[in-house]
Symmetry: D2
């Protein structure tokens, strides 16, 4: 950490800061220049991070040097993480998660219909929402426990692992009973109590990036889950807020190599929420594989006109099958495996 | 709602959409132009909003006309809302909330010291965090119940109403016991279950705008609380994400007249989080009053070097007293009242 | 275009608007609903666009339906455009522009060294800046005419077409003399006089998207060039402003299918400026091809430590050769051609 | 400047960097920590800024310490700048610029009508565009020289200084002949050749902030004008791009104290372009004065239905008179002067 002093910082102010740092068992080194004096602080940045050094008289700026996350970092674990979602589906370390399904679970018939289609196309994890975070209190909020049971039944019948969103710490126990993995939605990326709660389970957690979260914010939220004891975190990019309303969000695909440089966790891309437009999803799915992502998450619905949530952004099963075919070709080019979901 | 059809939409597609709208008891009117056909839909937009019309073949775009919120709107209630925080402090309808206090409650001695100073300066609501949402799992997370007790004790001693953040639906009952009002933080603005939970209490809720929330998103979150039965929602602008890192966030002061045109709820501005810089807080506090805000929320700490959270952005009590003095002058110019907190 | 009236619009106001529209030879259709009255306007949107309808009493909102660009649109030209840059290098229509070279032209020796390397790797257009838009007046501003001569000489020697930036209408004639194509930089995307000026030449123009330009803004700027008579416009995405400072800009790769749905012009991606980080460039170059881009623009420098501009974001020639090799593989998968630059 | 080395930087790499710095006559100080080695560089940052240190092997990050602008900085000139616009109108140093007029100059009759009204209300500088930067090539582009003559004639008749936009270096001489001051529009904030050109004149320049410009970018563009010899630069905030489309742009009012801390130049706020909504302009004008701005720029039109550009965002003369009245009250509260435009 580097402390930059104001041009008119006094010797007393400098001494006062140095004392404080000494008290914290840090090693300050003062460099006096013509225009500015700097204090370099070498030692545990965590200790320093919690000290309000910017509040000290004479301080102009405080610049951190080290990353604030540890368990998520490559320094903690150099090799890529790889997790087991069940039914033979591994994610990470060269294995691609192909997650597909409807936005919301509506009833068993439709979910089974969609699940059969996406599995036949090559999807290896089934998604579907039972608890739906909706902007309006007047919109369909999901089937709740009933939806979870349907999801489990369909997953069992087709021998596919399933994933579903959890929105509330009070739902964790229930979701844990029915689902193979947890999804934390973008709006809950910084719902820290929820992160701690899923951090105490033994299931993989797919953590979606918040709409205004930096890459660093995302990794710090992952760190909450890791620090609570659950090592199985999959990151998910689903677009961030931007100024152009021609797409629902802005897909930040460069976050894939950006994260991978510093972090060992797998990354899945969700072009459905990132663009909100079925006509853009296929090329963004292909670009995701080329960018080095560990999976692609796509919303698929066989009867979009009857969908109870986000029907307008779902691919039809045929469209999904077509883009899966191209993703398989790219997976081969990049020496990646798409594990097949299967019985024990 | 207006449905814009693709240039090549067929008659069958148009008939299919019209049928669907008839089924929903809506009245579609088809206008055939040279370049595009439009279908105007007159009736309850809520019904339409939940129908995935964009998923219908032949549809290019769907444009809503009406606002999606009701209880928060001026159409529902024309006059400004005014709520009672206790100890004689009304907020809204010409009464200004002057909320001040430390970021986190650290111990009773310091909180009492700060509270005395801000009350003497003119603050009428005391703030302090017992549950702290922190980006890092390794940072101080607040004193919890112990903190709530301290806050209550100090509020009682000084006869000031108190407000504190609630982060988790499971904390609502506890916070309800100790605090006069709830604060929902920016990171939880779309924690819909938490909104519903505080919507079932009988205390004012200050709802902070999320970092990437549009004004419309904020009002929809307020609608969750109102729809659950609690009419006492105060909105709070605390800055949104932007690209210039020279301030912590970007204060959107134009949201004050923007919201007030459509919504009857009071609005408080938080220049502390919006700027993150003590040198910018005073002029933004004054600008808030001039913009028509119903209150200003400022973090104050008497010993910022020892603060356990955000010490670098707190004003010193003297600085707070100075800006309060100027705010009082402006309040007079704009014919606003700053209620005094007092015993029963 | 749809005009939405205020809930309390009077009949006089409605009549007044209808009269105005009749005067403009447009055909208004009034739909009176319970909550709002709408006026649909069918006819040339250009005429309407310039009428300040939002300023009329009783008007709440005006919603355009048609795209504001014409010559750039698929409605004007359905098939993809394809342009000739010289030396056998076609761009668009399945042909990929592989543009490479240093940020700035520094001297003939270095440029020739770099050009040889990138050509050997497979680049087919050489780039280099003679006029450099620099944020600081104290930074190196480019060699000017001297630089243009060097660029021409190296292009001739290696039989490669060359492209270079033009910043000022007064430079167009000079650059036209030495370069095979013009580049308009992001900062000049809305320098409308410059656009008109290059619109009067007969050379391809690569138009870079501004840092805060929507896709629509970009296409409107292309329209300026097309409307001035020059049909050879290549669009270039180089990242837009966002809130995460871990990359220089935010690459919006979804703009490729987004633009291609409505517009026939080729699109080149510039991962060098979009990310500003050599470690992210290769995977973003590959993702660009997978997303359907018509080319990739990469800054390469053989001696980055001596570079006079942006050395820190350049790839080394070896790194470029490696990513070109992978891009060739992807080009084959997607049935695209990388034309070879060659003598007449 | 601080150079942060990678964890695995070798001694050879460190020596290589130190040598380079010695060659540049800088004084590097190496601090070896447990996790990272840092090199602090003390001396002229300009020299360092142009050296591509980030391109050196072993370098992880380079962090500048000093501001990159000089002539614009408080270190160069401590007291606030104050400029003379003519007709007794000083701007800065406690004097407020009240700039008003139509978006575009349409004809002499209308301009005179508007000018009389705004002058009577208290405006002291008349604005009107003769060269209009329009997003569409098919929109009205301004009257050009004819418009300049009208502006001059009206300014002379009413004895008001006038300001108008210049878009092209080739127009500077012409505009210099007719106008008292230059306006550089947001789209040209980084049109560096235009900045240099107006930097060689002797008239005040009002430089508008670009839609995606940081405060630092704005000050660097001001530096271009100052470095070319013209000391009379007035900054203008007119809103930046953001994600909420309910206002045209997002007004960053905190930039006033943010800039004033580091820079001596006056700052004018333009709520017309910042919000694009007449209903928001008055409260943002008042907030601007309260925030410490040196002036307010408002578009006014007496016949908005006939306006040829941006009629929907103009205030009516009556509305302007009303907000001017309130601004006068606030000016008194803050001890500011609104100079009156008058004959010699």
């Amino acid at each position: 950490m580097i402390i930059v002093l104001k041009p008119d910082a006094t010797d007393e102010q400098i001494d006062h800061i140095v004392e404080k740092l000494d008290d914290l068992n840090l090693r300050p080194e003062v460099s006096r220049g013509i225009k500015r004096t700097l204090i370099g602080v070498i030692g545990e940045e965590d200790v320093i991070r919690n000290a309000p050094l910017r509040a000290f008289p004479g301080v102009e700026d405080v610049m951190p040097i080290l990353k604030p996350y540890k368990l998520a970092s490559r320094e903690f674990q150099q090799e890529d993480s790889e997790f087991n979602f069940g039914h033979g589906v591994k994610v990470g370390g060269g294995n691609l998660a192909m997650i597909a399904g409807p936005c919301a679970i509506e009833n068993e018939e439709v979910l089974l219909e969609i699940a059969r289609e996406v599995k036949a196309a090559g999807a290896n994890i089934l998604r579907g929402g039972a608890f739906k975070p909706r902007t309006s209190p007047y919109s369909f909020q999901g089937l709740g426990k009933e939806g979870l049971k349907i999801l489990r039944a369909v997953g069992d019948e087709l021998q596919m692992p399933v994933i579903t969103e959890v929105m509330d710490p009070r739902q964790v126990e229930l979701v844990d009973k029915y689902s193979d993995a947890f999804q934390i939605g973008a709006r809950n990326m910084q719902n820290f109590n929820l992160l701690s709660e899923v951090g105490q389970t033994h299931r993989p957690v797919m953590l979606k990036r918040g709409m205004s979260a930096t890459v660093n914010d995302l990794l710090m939220s992952a760190e909450y889950i890791l620090a609570a004891g659950n090592k199985e975190v999959v990151l998910c990019e689903r677009g961030i807020r931007s100024f152009d309303s021609s797409t629902r969000n802005l897909l930040d695909l460069a976050m894939v190599p950006n994260v991978k440089g510093n972090c060992h966790l797998p990354i899945v891309i969700d072009p459905s929420h990132a663009t909100g437009r079925p006509d853009l999803i296929p090329s963004m799915a292909l670009a995701s594989i080329a960018a080095g992502a560990d999976g692609v998450h796509i919303e698929v619905h066989s009867r979009p006109e009857e969908a109870m949530s986000d029907g307008q952004q779902a691919l039809l099963p045929d469209q999904y099958a077509e883009v899966m075919q191209q993703m398989k070709t790219l997976a081969e080019v990049f020496h990646k495996t798409i594990p097949e979901a299967r019985g024990a």
